[in-house]
């Protein structure tokens, strides 16, 4: 049972890395970006290609995944996301769905529709036992990396100038601008960070969740759940939401396999009914 808990935490960690970038961009730019999964997919494919074609070791491919997604993020933000900020939520949703369609079909054309695999280095394969709990090495690695990320993101959010400017801009962009905070540049940087995190999450998730061109569509619902339940104004919110959902999903499938699949959706609906603004969000004015 504890092994399952461990697995759930690992799964939740990946969901967190995937979702927190979306959460911050949504809170900051009030932009519903369903194409976030496409950045994750990009990161995954970059990692796979780097290992297969360039022969890079697994550890080196992770920062590469992050960087490539972040760079594409900045480029796209400047070019095509900017004009969308002022439009209605519906338009933004449709715009990002259009991007997802293009990404899915484009990846299918470029890479083919078969699953991609990552050959993990030997020290990340297999598992060992501690006090009766089976600890998978790769899952432990994932928890460690994501945990580190979570802590540094939270620290950065609350203890740096960038973080405080970001929080100010999230609370009230107009006033922040009035105070001289370069909100547009903040948008671009945050979007880059968020997309980069998605790319990293995608690369980490290849081993756990598989990778093929339909990835953004399959997993979109998962990161959206993390964001809606966790709220968009902090790092801790999505973290706990991701943990809750990751554990609930894995434990649910273990205990009641027949209905395992929709425990996560039912949980989301229940949470949203009881707390429509997310578990941890403050009421927005």
């Amino acid at each position: 049972m504890l092994t399952i808990l461990f697995d759930g935490i690992a799964y939740g960690m990946v969901l967190f890395v995937l979702g927190c970038g979306l959460s911050v961009t949504m809170g900051l730019m009030n932009f519903v970006n369903l194409a976030h999964g496409a950045f994750a997919m990009l990161g995954g494919y970059v990692a796979v290609l780097a290992m297969q074609r360039l022969g890079l070791p697994f550890l080196a491919s992770l920062p590469l995944a992050f960087l490539s997604a972040a760079v594409i993020g900045i480029v796209l933000e400047r070019l095509i996301y900017r004009p969308m900020y002022a439009k209605s939520h519906l338009d933004q949703v449709m715009f990002s769905i259009g991007l997802v369609f293009m990404a899915v079909a484009g990846t299918d054309w470029l890479m083919g529709s078969t699953q991609q695999f990552i050959r993990l280095p030997a020290w990340l394969q297999g598992r060992f036992e501690i006090a009766g709990i089976g600890i998978g090495r790769y899952r432990l690695f994932v928890i460690a990396i994501c945990g580190l990320l979570a802590v540094s993101l939270q620290w950065g959010f609350t203890h740096t100038r960038f973080g405080s400017r970001l929080r100010a801009a999230v609370d009230d962009a107009r006033v922040a601008r009035g105070l001289g905070i370069p909100v547009n540049r903040l948008f671009a940087l945050t979007f880059a960070l968020g997309s980069g995190l998605a790319g990293l999450g995608g690369a980490l998730g290849v081993e756990l969740m598989g990778l093929d061109p339909t990835f953004p569509l399959k997993f979109m619902i998962y990161f959206l759940i993390v964001v809606t339940v966790g709220g968009t104004s902090s790092i801790t919110g999505p973290f706990f939401a991701a943990m809750l959902l990751g554990v609930a999903d894995v434990v649910g499938k273990y205990l009641v396999p027949q209905v395992g699949a929709f425990i996560i959706y039912a949980l989301m609906v229940v949470l949203l009914i009881t707390r429509p603004h997310g578990l941890f969000a403050r009421a927005r004015a």
């Binding site: 092994t3 078969t114 089976g134 399959k218 894995v250 273990y254």
Partner: protein, 391 residues
């Protein structure tokens, strides 16, 4: 004299005209509507079958029974409503004489009514649930059925000292078929079976595999659709289940030739039963694999490709038997009982059920040279679909 010459010319002219016109009639193309999932999660099935059909036409030509075959390819993206509409349009607008393809059970089932209403033979080249051929008297199948592949596995497992099996299958038609047929046969032999079903969309096998490791069975029987096999294998090994002495068995879908190389060494040692392996040791198969790989670099033919190739072969044989007559009833009658030596081994279309009767091989995944192959080491001959055979 002139009179006779004129008559001769007239007769010759008439004979020539008659032969030209009958040749023209004979040359009227016979259209085959090939409906495959070319996009979406099952696109690999579509690609394999499409490649196989093209290879067939290249190798055996397009003229059979005096008719030229023309294949119209349509993509249904694995969506049953699309399959149905495409089938309807192909029959009504393009006037096809045969419908072929059908990558999944719901796609085949959705089209059955149209085949019956329009009296058009429907050749199922991929879908594998047992009841498909009962949905219409115009359906013939050249792929396989899951019970056909799973029951021999039960026999082999029992005969080799496996007493307790845990089954993990994907929760849809073929998966349920595989589970029930294996479990029934195995239990009848005296073994114990515990089962769990994985949702079709499930990304993570961790919780299900956890249950397996806790149950400590002798073997794990698995069926998942082709794309997902790799994911499953990796997690199986990652959990150390192979080191715990649990054998991995099941129908060959999980070590699908299309992705076997990509799965990597984690697949070594899996024992599977299936109707085709790219490593099948026959001169015909070796030539087939070579030609296939030459025409499609980087692709290894799998059981889907063979289903497509044999489907075309069946249509060609039926046309030859009816001498080019495309009448649906006549074609289906010609298909019943047809038999030939396929690249997978000897095959026959059962005249009672219109389903395929073929050898099932027990194989082990081994390294041959630098490649992973499913090496056959036992053969069960002429297996009929057991579900219908019992009725």
């Amino acid at each position: 004299m002139t009179h006779r010459r004129t008559v001769l010319k007239g007769v010759l002219g008439f004979a020539l005209a008659a032969s030209v016109s009958s040749a023209a009639l004979a040359q009227e193309a016979l259209k085959i509507g090939l409906i495959l999932p070319m996009t979406g999660p099952f696109a690999s099935t579509g690609r394999q079958i499409d490649a196989a059909v093209k290879l067939f036409l290249a190798q055996e030509g397009a003229v059979h029974g005096g008719r030229k075959i023309e294949v119209i390819l349509k993509d249904d993206a694995g969506n049953a409503d699309a399959t149905r509409r495409l089938a309807q349009e192909l029959v009504v607008n393009d006037k096809v004489s045969v419908l072929a393809g059908f990558g999944l059970t719901p796609l085949a089932m959705a089209t059955a009514q149209i085949a019956t209403q329009a009296k058009v033979p429907q050749i199922v080249m991929a879908a594998a649930t047992a009841t498909i051929t009962e949905a219409s008297p115009y359906i013939a199948r050249t792929s396989f059925t899951l019970p056909q592949a799973s029951e021999p596995m039960a026999d082999w497992a029992w005969a080799n000292g496996i007493k307790k099996v845990f089954t993990v299958v994907t929760d849809y038609g073929p998966g349920i078929d595989a589970e029930t047929s294996f479990a029934n046969k195995f239990k009848a032999a005296g073994g114990t079976v515990e089962s769990v079903r994985v949702p079709l969309r499930g990304p993570d096998f961790a919780p299900f595999l956890q249950r397996v490791s806790e149950a400590k069975p002798d073997a794990l029987f698995v069926f998942v659709p082709s794309g997902v096999g790799a994911q499953f294998m990796k997690q199986f090994v990652e959990r150390g289940l192979d080191k715990a002495g649990i054998k991995l068995i099941g129908p060959g879908d999980v070590v699908d030739d299309d992705i076997l190389q990509g799965i990597g060494d984690v697949a070594l040692g899996a024992i599977t039963t299936h109707h085709y392996s790219a490593a099948h040791d026959s001169p015909a198969n070796k030539a087939f694999v070579e030609a296939f790989q030459k025409a499609n670099p980087g692709m290894r033919p799998n059981f889907m490709a063979v289903g497509g190739y044999d489907g075309m072969k069946l249509i060609a044989k039926a046309l030859e038997a009816t001498k080019g007559d495309a009448n649906g009833d006549k074609l289906i009658a010609a298909m019943k009982g047809a038999s030939w030596e396929s690249v997978r081994g000897p095959v026959k279309i059962d005249p009672d059920t219109r389903d395929i009767v073929q050898n099932i091989y027990v194989r082990k995944t081994e390294k041959v040279g630098s490649e992973l192959q499913n090496v056959e080491f036992a053969t069960i001959k002429d297996v009929k679909d057991p579900v219908k055979a019992r009725k």
